[in-house]
Amino acid sequence: MSIPFIDAIRGYLQGDGAVILPEMELTLFGLAVLLIGYPLDESVENNWFWKLLFKNFYAKAALAGTLFSGFTLWKLRGAVAASARGYLPGFHESVVVDSFFPFFATLFLAATALVILLSVKYLDIEEEQEGEYYALLLFACVGMMFMASGVDLIVMFLGLETMALSFYVLTGFLRREKRSNEASLKYVLLGAFSSGILAYGFSLIYGLSGTTNIRNISAVFNPRIGLARAIELSRQSGVMGSQMRQVLSAEYPAALHLEPSLLHQMPVLAAAAFVLIAVGLFFKVAAVPFHQWAPDVYEGAPTPVTTYVSVASKTASFALLLRLFLTVFAASQETWVYLIAGVAVASLTWGNLAALTQTNVKRLLAYSSIAHVGYILLGLVAWNETAFTGIAFYLLAYVFMTAGAFAVIIVLRQKGLIGEELEDLNGLYQRSPASALLLLIFMLSLAGIPPTAGFMGKYFIFLSLIETKHPVLAVFAVLYIVPALYYYFRIVVHAWLKAPGEAPRPVMSSAQAVALGVAVFVSLAAGLYPEPFTRLAHYAFGP
């Protein structure tokens, strides 16, 4: 029996729908969490089955969503490997699933799952256990996945905005908390401003190329000598004109519609478009000099949201940046490499130096994350295969070690104790040896000491810089490990050597323990036995 409606859905799911199935599942789970209001918290029957199903129902549903989506992603990855072209396009080539997408989508899903696990107890303490929170986490993840899979300017921009709007609300989720209000207000103003700048850059690119698909746009930015003249010739009548038209329609069909008067301005407009887009993206990844929002947002947001912003939003913005730079701007790499190198060095300098004097751990980690952006941008300067593997590896390591470091701060949050200041860490070793040990491992990894994941990430970046003959930048980058060691070890000293005060013993919930376990496992495994992780990173920029 065939029902037309069901058949249409099935056909869709086998065609275009298959490409965005992981995102669709997350959206459906998010909507379900929003729609199902459960009245069962207190009145839940004291039956183990009901408890298992309905205690913290929202968090469980959201976690189930990420697991489902991850499973679908795994199957999709198999389909990509089996496909003839090495990628699956959908929606008229505006969304593409290639090897780049599964790598980043896995990182986003892992980060989302970690944040969900870390949130449950934190929200209980803040008395804000709402379903909307988990729904927004899932929607943000959907946006990030579209940032990694979109190859059309419209899809990329909408993905970015879906993520950003969810984050604005999440940052201000503690409505009664003044610092949370202030952080989200600063975030929404600066975030919307940077989105506007980015959109203006996108509109210029569209104007230069007449298309929103980034694969076709790249042709415009290739250096072409005499194209304006060729187009003018092709508009003339006669044999010359028609020959020129044929050549152009074979070589570069989009040029037939370009405006010659615009073409003379092309280098200027292209440079303006590049600068605007770069500024917009530097805002999103929090690179100096567009980093001012980051420390404030990190400090004011609820700590699980801080984790999510620092880990996932940064990775997603880098995915978008890499996708654009590897296609649209790839041909002009020699021109913009100085700009990127300058921003990278500025981020390293300012991030590392400003972190030295911080007393709030979340703020300190914000500046340290700005420094990490500097290292990742240096990979773009090197621009060879080692560098791309290094960037992917660095992002992978960064996700888990930063999530771990924030997770320890979340564990410290108790009723009546904020636990964000350096002083609050005093004597953590006596109060909770396990948390102190975990903190030490994450700090070692963030500083880049072997045998941790952070070391391997930095190693690849340095190696690529030396391979491509940038010894000065490599020396700079290595030297900045010294201040980094100083401020990371300030945290360790407070936790291990200072005498404990009146502070209570932190109690770890089982969900937090799972999240910390995963984070510490990856941080150590990727350093001790990097082979499978390197292969994974290599695969992201694979064929």
């Binding site: 909408l158 103003l189 919307a192 210029l204 298309t211 929103t212 405006e259």
Partner: protein, 100 residues
């Protein structure tokens, strides 16, 4: 049809006015309005180019940006209301709990 340059100049002017507004204004509601100006500058660009090329993608993009601007305004105003309830101010230089 007007040459494309006219539209580009109008949109550039809007963009610059918006950017100056964001940077110099103290009142966060005016800042939010300036951001809307920037997004409208983007829309003018997109629609002008869309007409130039006879390509509909630019208009679709503009529609999405209008929707996005609405969403941003809704979220932004919501956050401003939450902020105002706690602090009784909408001035940017009085946001000083976190070092700016």
């Amino acid at each position: 049809m007007l040459p494309i340059g006219h539209y580009l100049f109008l949109s550039l002017a809007l963009f610059i006015i918006g950017a100056i507004g964001v940077i110099t204004r103290r009142n966060v509601i005016v800042v939010l309005m300036s951001i809307e100006l920037i997004l409208n500058a983007v829309n003018i660009n997109l629609v002008a180019f869309s007409r130039l090329y006879g390509d509909v993608a630019g208009q679709v993009f503009a529609l999405f940006i209008i929707a996005d601007a609405a969403a941003e305004a809704a979220v932004g105003l919501g956050i401003i209301i939450a902020f105002f309830r706690n602090r009784e101010t909408v001035l940017a230089d009085e946001m000083d709990l976190l070092k700016w």
